[in-house]
Point group: C2
Chain length 346, copies 2
């Protein structure tokens, strides 16, 4: 058991170990700012004592709190957890503490989360928005209060904000192109419109497929709800079609991998085996490179989003904004390319 004397303020600490409070303060902020002999003395005497500095008090009259805030829309999606992991890692390496808030796909909670971050005086914020349901005023408010950059998806109506995400025209483009090359032109299985990417991918598909001289065929739109049950959506839509004997030997590009997982399941239930057959046949492809893709049956062909690059780039851009807070240089829009991941399903 821990029998060290509990000390709750730096003043107590000061006369418990015989070092003046200002020196202690300087030591805790930067051990190198005191003489080595003093530093050694402090370290030794700290051993005999149980002191936890008060985070709030330390940050109160510094210009910087050393924290950045992150808002993600939804937790139960490995896409966002992967992204968050990269962000946290990058922030940690830069010496920042990350405060994560989740919107739970509720605009009200998203707004409250933004208030919390501002109230905590985070140095900057990274936000992966909800979709059209989001209150745009929330982002404007955030922007007017602190450096912030949008991640993953963004409202078309807010071109004036820093953004880091995947170039969906490119990513959706290359997989559309691939599918057209190896088989019949793909249909596009839409996803619930929970964010702006849903529409971006849809129109990127349409653009590319017509560009190649085919007709666009978007399916599953009428059944679309705005929840996050992607797999169920994909399965239900394709089950409906397969049961009617349609799309049995087509290529199907799914708006994301989770929808594709549902589609794979529907195929299986109807005795269909999507794959890279030489002469057409059913193919199913996704988008994102969801961590489970290598383990689906069959393994899912998809376009990878570069999680690591998105995470690192967004953090470093945010730190840049934090650094020269003054100059309102034109916002940077960084669109990162996706990479084709050929596996078994298409």
């Amino acid at each position: 058991m821990n029998k060290k004397k509990k000390i709750s303020t730096m003043n107590e600490l000061s006369d418990a170990i015989g070092i003046s409070r200002p020196t202690l303060s300087r030591y805790f902020q930067n051990p190198a700012s005191v003489r080595p002999s003093t530093s050694k003395k402090i370290i030794e005497r700290l051993e005999s004592v149980d002191y936890v500095p008060n985070f709030f008090a330390t940050r109160m009259n510094r210009k910087s709190t050393g924290m950045i805030g992150v808002i993600i829309p939804y937790l139960n999606d490995l896409f966002f957890t992967r992204l968050l992991e990269e962000i946290e890692t990058a922030a940690m390496e830069a010496g920042y503490t990350v405060i994560t808030q989740c919107s739970h796909s509720d605009p009200g909670i998203e707004a409250r989360a933004a208030e919390t971050l501002m109230s905590m005086s985070v140095d900057g914020a990274l936000v992966a928005p909800l979709g059209n349901q989001s209150d745009r005023a929330v982002y404007e408010r955030l922007q007017s209060h602190l450096p912030f950059v949008l991640v993953d998806s963004r409202p078309a109506t807010m071109p004036n904000v820093d953004f880091v995400g995947t170039d969906h025209v490119q990513s959706t483009g290359i997989i559309t192109e691939y599918l057209c090359r190896v088989g019949p032109p793909p249909a596009f299985l839409a996803m619930p419109r929970v964010n702006f990417n849903a529409m971006e991918r849809e129109s990127a598909y349409t653009k590319k497929v017509t560009e190649l001289g085919y007709d666009a065929d978007v399916i599953g739109v009428q059944a679309i709800e705005t929840d996050w049950h992607f797999e169920a959506h994909g399965e239900a839509v394709m089950d409906h079609h397969f049961a009617r004997g349609t799309y049995l030997d087509r290529s199907i590009l799914c708006a994301n991998d989770r929808v594709a997982i549902g589609a794979l399941r529907a195929a299986s239930r109807h005795g269909l085996y999507p794959g890279r057959l030489p002469e057409g046949g059913l193919r199913i492809a996704g988008h994102d490179d969801y961590p489970l893709c290598p383990f689906t049956i069959p393994a899912l062909t998809t376009v990878a989003q570069d999680f690591e690059a998105i995470g690192k780039t967004s953090v470093s851009r945010l730190l840049e904004l934090i650094a020269h807070k003054g100059d309102p240089q034109s916002p940077q829009i960084k669109l990162l390319p996706g990479a084709l991941k050929l596996r078994e399903s298409a």
Copy 2:
């Protein structure tokens, strides 16, 4: 655009809208504590102004910060995100702000996270531990500083701490029993020993299966690493066995669903179709009711952990501890039962 006058302290606010600072302070903490007419006046005048209270300063000399800390070991696992979702929801309903920290499966980061939480003076902490790698001293330190309860898994060597989690003897028991009833006694496909549950389930399986008069058969142990690549582990181990023609018509109880997803994949690669055949044959079952179970091929039979109950119970227990901080009543260990989820795979 927002053209409201920015106000950064309550003093400025006070003489901007003509209400004394103490009254404002009382209003923000509890709008009902001021006269209705005053409250109305404040609300109106607040409209014309942009003021964000300083979170740190408000909490500085209150007894409670209104925050609870949560530490989870790993982000890219829907089990933990589901749990976190329940915890956040329960905490929010109770009026608490949640500060989430992730260990990223690193004991060093876990220790730092604990320090951060103590430093922020959270009212209490909920911790889902890493495994044996965790430094036990971290938990003892947490316990000596604030109300805290372990969630999901716990060190056998720390019986003296509040805990909320699944009763693995029961949960693993009922699925073992089920498998024995409908087919040959199952083998147990172990999981990487990232936490204490890995061993708990393993021994619960052994106990039950010998109790029923069969020999325990634990596989995949020699290949075990301590990382979180569960699916890859499950696939590799079963691929090895299936390739050698072993376990082809056995029941296989996987230590968790993610391992099972890998096992399903291995089965598929070898042309095997696990399922509920009348007369034996390959069966694969999991544990947890990972959100993706209904969408695997075949849909995975498993034992559900009661995410909601674990989340709600752990939060309410923590709030209890926070409420009567004084009395060190004997720690409560709440073991919640699992429920059989029969689907297609076993």
